[in-house]
């Protein structure tokens, strides 16, 4: 009996011990990869979300090959990169940094200052300013001037993190459907054309084609025949509805996808200076809506003709809430109000059971499966990474219907239309929304810092940046150019995204600031919660769905007052 008791106690102790040690196994590196003791190991953590890890696996293969002769400690030759893939975002990563054994980390949802002030990041200043091997630029040279400044911390302006992939939120348009229903906009003002009616590249007069010049104002480019203004966009959705298409869909369960899209749309309307003011709270000539003057809202079904007056103010940290008085907030609200009130949305967009992956599937399937769907869906509100998430759906649809794979279907990340014609040709402003960064753990043993820095640098070479874009069909938040061969390997969607980002007058805005106010407001001022109108109303779509009499101007005023009241 005693022996049985002892055995039981030992078993319990073993279970207890295992349960404790099992924490160490959370998010372990690839279990199939055995440590090669003849090589130097570099431990890497990657947030395995929508962008996946295929890009990292490919980069690791090249890095291990490039550093196969690297001489490490104790006669070790070559490098082995051990990758941990998990879905822990920045808050969790920061909380667990004391026990994190990885040397290089890529994560999203980062608050740069929290990481830096907690001393968990290795100083990268020298590395980011070095000219990259085989190139003529440094990592810093690839960043926008605003980002370069925002990354410099403290009086000695040290850099601790490098921006990673770019998370843009927007609208994806089904070009195949646009072609099938001939819904491209022609110079004659009619939606009767196809993509093939585009002018040849370089034909600045547009004489060789029938389509309008699009939002960039240049004929023969990627956006010809696509809506350049809100007016044209609404003309398009009305045309879609008339031709048996549900114009636009989004996840009914995650209404916030629309909010993040609205934020991108608003940033584009604000222009780079206005969008950056949301994070710097510093703009001596900020254009805002004059609340003392009347605002004329738009009536569903009629022409979109929002009217308001503006005034110029000086924005400071103390009056930071004034950013919410920018006309772009009002116009984005009016945009959504018009879509909702006009019923230009796909019915699942308000079905609480429709997850983001469901709407991706339905959007992709609706054009192909005419038995299962009454109407095809023309546009999808999503983040630019959604095709990675829908990879299996593409495969399944390809098997079922043929010619429906990711590389075959023509889906375009739509450049945001401008509020009015005066902005045509002024370029796009892209708002990076995911706060993704790469950095090196400050606890990395000194003897492994050199190789870890080399790996992070390697990830940001032009070859790696291009490879990332080819594999994920998304972009990194840096300036780099794709070759024609690269484009051939990419999906139509990936190309469309790159076309916008690499257009000459495109500006990328990062949600970064250095002020105390920014640090204090950072968590509240995310793209989703920026639209919080009151304690109980956070989603404009739900608000407008509640009653058609509800207006964008009401929401706009309440939004402004809410922020002003809590500043």
């Amino acid at each position: 009996m005693k022996a049985i008791k002892k055995l039981l106690v030992l078993m319990m102790a073993a279970v207890l011990s295992l349960s404790v040690f099992s924490f160490a196994g959370c998010g372990k590196t690839d279990p199939d990869k055995i440590v090669d003791k003849t090589k130097t190991q570099v431990y890497v953590y990657n947030f395995n979300g929508g962008f996946g890890s295929d890009w990292l696996d490919a980069a690791v293969r090249r890095f291990e090959e490039a550093y196969k002769d690297y001489e490490g400690l104790d006669g070790k030759v070559g490098v082995q990169v051990m990758v941990e893939k998990d879905k822990i975002t920045a808050t969790g990563v920061l909380a667990g940094m004391s026990g994190n054994k990885n040397y290089v980390l890529f994560t999203e949802g980062v608050n740069y200052f929290d990481f830096v002030t907690q001393g968990v990041c290795l100083d990268l200043t020298t590395m980011v300013n070095e000219t990259l091997p085989g190139e003529e630029r440094s990592i810093m040279d690839k960043l926008s001037p605003t980002m370069q400044e925002a990354l410099k911390y403290g009086e000695d302006e040290k850099v601790y993190m490098i921006p990673h992939y770019a998370g843009y939120n927007g609208i994806t348009l089904d070009i195949d459907l646009m072609d099938a229903k001939a819904m491209f906009l022609g110079k004659d003002g009619k939606f009767n054309y196809r993509e093939s009616d585009r002018a040849t590249a370089g034909d600045t007069t547009g004489a060789s084609g029938k389509l309008t010049a699009g939002q960039d104002g240049v004929f023969g480019t990627y956006d010809d025949g696509l809506p350049a203004t809100y007016d044209e966009f609404f003309d398009l959705v009305r045309t879609m509805k008339q031709r048996g298409v549900d114009p636009i869909g989004w996840s009914g369960h995650h209404q916030w996808y629309v909010q993040t899209m609205m934020m991108g749309m608003a940033a584009n309307a604000m222009g780079a200076a206005g969008a950056e003011a949301m994070y710097t709270f510093n703009n001596p000539t900020l254009e805002v809506v004059d609340m003392s003057k009347p605002i004329t809202d738009v009536v569903a079904g009629q022409e979109w003709n929002l009217q308001y007056s503006t005034q110029t103010i000086s924005l400071t940290e103390e009056t930071g809430y004034e950013v919410f008085r920018q006309p772009a907030f009002l116009t984005a609200l009016s945009f959504v109000d018009y879509i909702v009130d006009g019923g230009y949305y796909y019915s699942s967009s308000f079905n609480d059971g429709t997850q983001h992956t469901d709407i991706q599937n339905e959007f992709l399937q609706s054009r192909l499966d005419q038995d299962g769907f009454e109407k095809p869906v023309g546009m999808l509100v999503e983040g630019c990474w959604w095709q990675q998430e829908a990879a299996q759906t593409f495969k399944d649809l390809d098997d079922l219907f043929g010619d429906a794979g990711r590389d075959v279907r023509k889906l375009r990340f739509l450049p945001f239309p401008h509020v009015n014609e005066s902005k045509i040709g002024s370029g796009q402003v892209l708002l990076e929304a995911n706060n993704c960064y790469g950095f090196i753990n400050s606890k990395t043993p000194e003897e492994y810092q050199e190789i870890s820095l080399a790996f992070l640098q390697f990830i940001n070479t032009d070859v790696s940046l291009r490879e990332f874009t080819r594999i994920t069909n998304t972009t990194k938040a840096m300036n780099y150019t794709m070759t024609e061969e690269d484009y051939e390997e990419m999906s139509y969607f990936g190309r469309s995204l790159m076309e916008i980002q690499s257009a000459p007058n495109t500006t990328i805005v990062y949600p970064m600031g250095t002020s105390d106010t920014f640090i204090a407001k950072k968590s509240a001022m995310n793209n989703q919660d920026m639209w919080t109108m009151s304690t109980t109303v956070k989603a404009p779509t739900q608000y407008f769905k509640g009653a058609s009499s509800r207006t964008a101007s009401e929401y706009f005023k309440a939004l402004y007052n809410n922020w002003k009241g809590s500043w």
Binding site: W256, F350, G353, K538, A539, G565
Partner: protein
């Protein structure tokens, strides 16, 4: 001789004692360390944080009552805490006055081994053994696709999904909370009911008591200590219950649904280091509010509740 034997015995005992103490020490070390870190340290740090604020140099400095003032501003200003308080109260009331009696009735039904009691047992315990995320997902599909489809088939009229319609969203989620909450309670109550003396039940029947009378006069006093524990812990959980909102909506539930627990959870999930003091302070205040109620209710229940000895 006797002395020698006694001495040997004492020496043996000491050695065994030492071994026992080592064994106990090793076995207790892990839970004690865990308790020290995750309870004592965390709570101590929370109290400290409540009186601190974060500076841009990356340090927390004492700021007296600034966080308490901020909490008050939230209560008086944006009203988000008041909405949370209202919803927490609704959740508590539904759980206590609908969920608990139903759990007791179902437990009694199962205890009495009435027809299909095993089926009921499985059905009601199912939400507790399946991942809550899976259950909520299945429930969402059922509520938003299944119910409207059946409704249309039976009544020929289209309706919105139960959580799609803003009017029915909260009641539906409350229903789900009650249903999903049956499992643990049912297991505990059934266990307590099975411990009630068979002879007492038989005596009760010999006296001509009906099932309802048996439930009220024999079963209820038998399970009352268990009931007391549940009611007391539910008061303590008043400010932490999130109405399953995170399982349903992640951190993007509509504002009108928020409970205090959800507000706290999502707040800390999204928080930057500068936000932690505010949430720590709020947590401290809520604990101070919940504590007297918890102890008070416990005392009242023990004093006035039914007992098999009275």
């Amino acid at each position: 001789m006797n002395n020698v034997i006694t001495h040997k015995k004492r020496s043996g005992l000491r050695q065994r004692d030492i071994k026992n103490w080592i064994f106990i020490g090793i076995m207790s070390a892990i839970p004690l360390i865990q308790f020290a870190i995750f309870y004592i340290y965390v709570n101590f740090n929370t109290i400290l944080l409540s009186f601190q604020s974060y500076t841009d140099s990356g340090k927390y400095v004492f700021n007296q009552f600034a966080n308490f003032k901020k909490v008050w501003q939230e209560v008086a200003g944006t009203g988000v805490l008041l909405v949370g308080l209202k919803n927490s109260a609704i959740l508590y009331a539904v759980g206590t006055f609908i969920g608990t009696p139903l759990t007791l009735i179902f437990s009694y039904y199962i205890y009495k081994k009435r027809p299909f009691h095993k089926t009921f047992k499985i059905m009601l315990f199912l939400p507790s053994i399946i991942s809550s995320l899976v259950m909520t997902l299945v429930f969402l599909y059922f509520a938003n696709y299944g119910i409207p489809a059946y409704w249309e088939k039976i009544f020929g009229k289209e309706i919105e999904g139960l959580t799609t319609s803003l009017k029915t969203r909260m009641p539906t989620i409350l229903f789900y909370c009650v249903w999903a909450g049956f499992g643990t309670g049912m297991l505990m109550y059934s266990g307590a009911m099975n411990n009630i003396s068979e002879s007492m039940v038989e005596a009760c029947h010999l006296d001509g008591a009906s099932n309802i009378q048996e439930f009220w006069y024999v079963t209820m006093p038998g399970v009352f200590p268990t009931l007391t524990t549940f009611l007391t812990t539910s008061i303590a959980a008043f400010f932490t219950a999130d109405m399953m909102l995170f399982a349903f909506y992640g951190d993007s539930a509509e504002g009108f649904l928020w409970t205090i627990g959800y507000y706290l959870f999502c707040g800390t999930k999204k928080a930057t280091l500068s936000d932690y003091p505010y949430y720590a302070c709020l947590g401290l205040i809520l604990t101070l509010i919940a504590m007297p109620f918890t102890f008070g209710l416990r005392k009242l229940l023990f004093r006035f509740g039914p007992s098999t000895e009275r």
